[in-house]
Symmetry: C2
Subunit: 170 residues, 2 copies
């Protein structure tokens, strides 16, 4: 089980970024995303994507982030530009254990640094929680997300020019 | 020279996503970003990051995207979920040539598919232009962006607990 915990989500400011974080979680092999602020519209958007493109992916908004982190029985990784080197950290993480990946919006409370087993930096330059999560999951599952089958109603086939889309009713 | 061309930028809707696209371009080794809509605030934000965190990175907003693509003398890669497989495409791209990477917001005009030398999919599932650009650049430069030196006034050192920041006046 791989879950993502998105903290500091503010609906008006972060709706697009948090949507992208959730889509990355789904596409790059996570099973679930928790979001600390209740956001029905976001839930609907992600469920709609899952309905069309397939795969088992859950979204739960309005969760108590501290409680989820404290009750998590597996490994907790917090992605932050202040964290330890990505490649060094990845090697230390037991892949057989459940994994909770915490990604913040703006400032992350200091207790999250303490509660995490690993504070990991995807480079020490500012970029994005969207790219940080993507690169982390890519490294974590050795690029296997690229060939994951979702068996959705809509399937897009690789193609250098134009669009190849298979649509089917289930 | 690696440049990114961001098309379809709408200030109110995309300000945060386009900022993240620009930050990814900078952090993952591109030299420059072009954005099709004039956006002074975005330019200021990115220049402020460069001023603090270092590196030579340029941003130009309000460009004619078609003109830039048509006049580009190197290779053009368009990132799209409809494109050809990432790993297969990467092998075909001559790394000695200048590279323009096109990333859209919502719908990309069909001429961009035609003008691009390579339409490349970073997986065929919906996720984000931020993660697509990050994964593409990561593969393109073989993860070397992770150790790139920016020599900024602010330097963050990897660390598993807490924050290690070096600040210096230049």
């Amino acid at each position: 089980m791989i879950a993502v915990l998105r903290i500091g989500h503010r609906i008006s400011r972060d709706k697009r970024i948090t949507t992208h974080v959730a889509l990355v979680a789904r596409a790059f092999g996570a099973d679930k995303i928790f979001i600390d602020t209740k956001d029905i519209k976001l839930e609907e958007n992600i469920c709609s994507t899952c309905g069309r493109f397939g795969g088992k992916f859950e979204i739960k908004t309005g969760v108590n982030a501290n409680k989820i982190a404290k009750q998590w029985s597996g490994i907790i990784v917090h992605l932050t530009m202040y964290g330890d080197e990505l490649d060094r950290s990845i090697k230390k993480i037991d892949k057989n254990d459940d994994l909770l990946i915490v990604v913040g919006a703006e400032k992350v409370p200091s207790q999250m640094y303490a509660i995490a087993d690993f504070n990991v930096s995807v480079g020490n330059q500012p970029h994005s929680e969207v790219s940080a999560l993507a690169i982390f999951l890519d490294r974590y599952n050795n690029g296997k997300w690229l060939t994951k089958r979702f068996n959705g109603k809509i399937q897009i086939l690789p193609c250098n020019k134009g669009k190849k889309v298979i649509s089917r009713d289930k």
